[in-house]
């Protein structure tokens, strides 16, 4: 696949999911074709956000949360996002749990990133867990108790994966959103994409580099989103109700961004020892950086 000629680079960007989305396509194919594919790719971010946002009172997710106790038919996007999040919860015995949404709201992660609108959910059951989310035939979801689902660890990755599907015809491209990415083929120099891993304690520096082709890379870190009181971050441990401790960041390399994102989040909450074992069992590669700055690779 590496080539000696330099191909044109086409770029696209948008704002979605509280972050900046950037796409690069490296190809000498017809420009109109590239731009059409880029537009389709960007649209997936709006589609997934509209389905999965916890911050938008009109999202499909919020409509689902408003109807506990009955089977609700949902879109393929919401169905698959919730199903993957619940599978991840089962695989970690609830250490990762998408029903952590209420606690996130209580920690101040409840503000829409553009409108500033604050959402609060007064009527949820604080003892509810992922086991209260049931899947039925014909894409129905039943919430056995009122819950607040947070799909933050899943939805952005899913959107990148779907955007990438639109670009497969070009072979060489990358889709990045807020530090999570999929890189296919080669960069403009005909080499594998060179990915820097953010140093979690010195944001001007990189802790490592990875050469990536046809793989997703995601990082969960304690420096990403601080709670409003400044004492915690957004990766809550359901066992304690507090921010997970011990690790500064976990980077996962996997075939899909949804898997990489979810597994990185779960491994971060699990901590170093269990997190390494979990990634090995999941057959993906990881880079762990501890709070003291030590680095471990699986």
């Amino acid at each position: 696949m590496p080539s000696t000629t330099t191909l044109p680079v086409h770029e696209a960007a948008t704002i979605a999911m509280d972050t900046v989305v950037k796409i690069q396509v490296v190809t000498d194919q017809d420009e109109a074709k590239v731009r059409y594919a880029l537009q389709r790719a960007l649209t997936w971010f709006a589609t997934v956000e509209q389905a999965c946002s916890r911050f938008d009172p009109n999202s499909e997710l919020r409509q689902l949360l408003a109807r506990p106790g009955e089977p609700v038919k949902v879109s393929p996007v919401l169905f698959e996002a919730v199903r993957f999040a619940v599978h991840l919860a089962r695989a970690t015995d609830g250490v990762f749990d998408p029903t952590v949404g209420l606690r996130l709201e209580q920690h101040g992660f409840n503000r829409h990133y553009i409108t500033g609108q604050v959402l609060t959910s007064p009527d949820v059951d604080t003892s509810a867990a992922f086991r209260d989310v049931r899947f039925g035939p014909r894409r129905t979801i039943t919430l056995r108790r009122p819950v607040v689902l947070d799909l933050g660890a899943v939805a952005k990755g899913l959107a990148i994966d779907l955007a990438s599907c639109e670009l497969l015809a070009f072979e060489n491209f990358c889709v990045e959103a807020g530090g999570d990415l999929y890189a296919a083929g080669c960069n403009a120099d005909g080499q594998p994409w060179r990915i820097g891993v953010q140093d979690p304690r010195d944001l001007d520096a990189l802790a490592a580099t990875l050469d990536i082709s046809n793989r997703a890379v995601c990082t969960s870190g304690d420096y990403e989103r601080k709670s409003r009181d400044g004492t915690g971050h957004h990766l809550l441990d359901p066992r304690t109700g507090q921010s997970a401790q011990g690790l500064a960041s976990v980077t996962v390399v996997a075939p899909t961004v949804m898997a990489a994102d979810g597994l990185a989040t779960a491994a971060f909450i699990l901590g170093l020892e269990d997190g390494v074992r979990f990634l090995q069992q999941s057959d993906v590669d990881g880079v762990f950086i501890t709070s003291s700055g030590a680095m471990h690779r699986t």
Binding site: H10, E11, A12, A13, T14, A16, V20, K22, R35, Q39, R40, L42, T43, W44, F45, A46, T47, E49, P57, N58, E60, R62, Q63, L65, A66, P76, V77, E80, R83, F84, H87, A91, T92, D93, G116, Q117, L119, T120, L162, C174, G178, G179, D180, N187, R194, G196, Q198, D199, D204, L206, T209, L210, C218, G221, E224, A254, A259, L263, F278, S282
Partner: protein
């Protein structure tokens, strides 16, 4: 822990992506075909320069994003009877924004983001990127266990875990909204 076959997770994620993508293709293929034919003309808001930056707006209001014709919209329309129990409040009073389109820029250690924010009826209607530049530093590899990564200074293409572009975009939006607020305040003062 983790005794419930985590190895299946990667396969599950791949089949989930495929299921959604195929559902989108099936439901939008006829429309997509018609747009492909028409795409030589003007289809969407694409900036035509030598290195075209395709921009897409994000809807920030109650109005769902309207997808351009032929793009994969797989979301089923939620039942109209559904009402959200979540309550909302707005941090800044919407009436403090003047109507119009305002631009702002934000900078971060890895680049700049310029945005355009439009305000309609005192509310933020949408925000979109007008340009974005990215510049990553040459990697300064900290001390690593010898074999894993060679010391090198090559530039990286992307950085995982870098969230500074998000902060730059928020800064840009705030700058744009500050103009909308200032304009609203001055017109209020003039009226008073």
């Amino acid at each position: 822990m983790a005794k419930k076959m985590p190895g299946r997770l990667v396969a599950l994620s791949a089949s989930a992506v495929a299921a959604i993508y195929l559902a989108g293709l099936v439901s939008t293929q006829p429309a997509a075909d018609s747009v492909t034919v028409a795409s030589a003309g003007a289809t969407t808001a694409v900036v035509a320069t030598s290195t075209p930056l395709v921009v897409a707006a994000v809807a920030a209001t109650a109005t769902p994003v309207v997808a351009p014709t032929g793009v994969p919209t797989t979301a089923a329309t939620p039942p109209p009877a559904a009402t959200a129990t979540a309550t909302t409040s707005t941090a800044a009073s919407p009436s403090t924004y003047a109507n119009g389109t305002f631009s702002g820029s934000g900078t971060s250690r890895f680049g700049n983001v310029n945005v355009s924010v439009s305000v309609s009826n005192g509310k933020i209607a949408n925000a979109q990127i007008t340009s974005v530049t990215t510049k990553y530093p040459a990697s300064r590899i900290a001390s690593l266990p010898g074999q894993v990564v060679q010391n090198q200074t090559a530039n990286v293409n992307l950085v995982t875990g870098a969230t500074s572009s998000s902060q730059a975009f928020k800064q840009a939006v705030q700058q744009a909204l500050a103009q909308a607020q200032a304009l609203a305040a001055s017109s209020t003062a003039a009226a008073g």
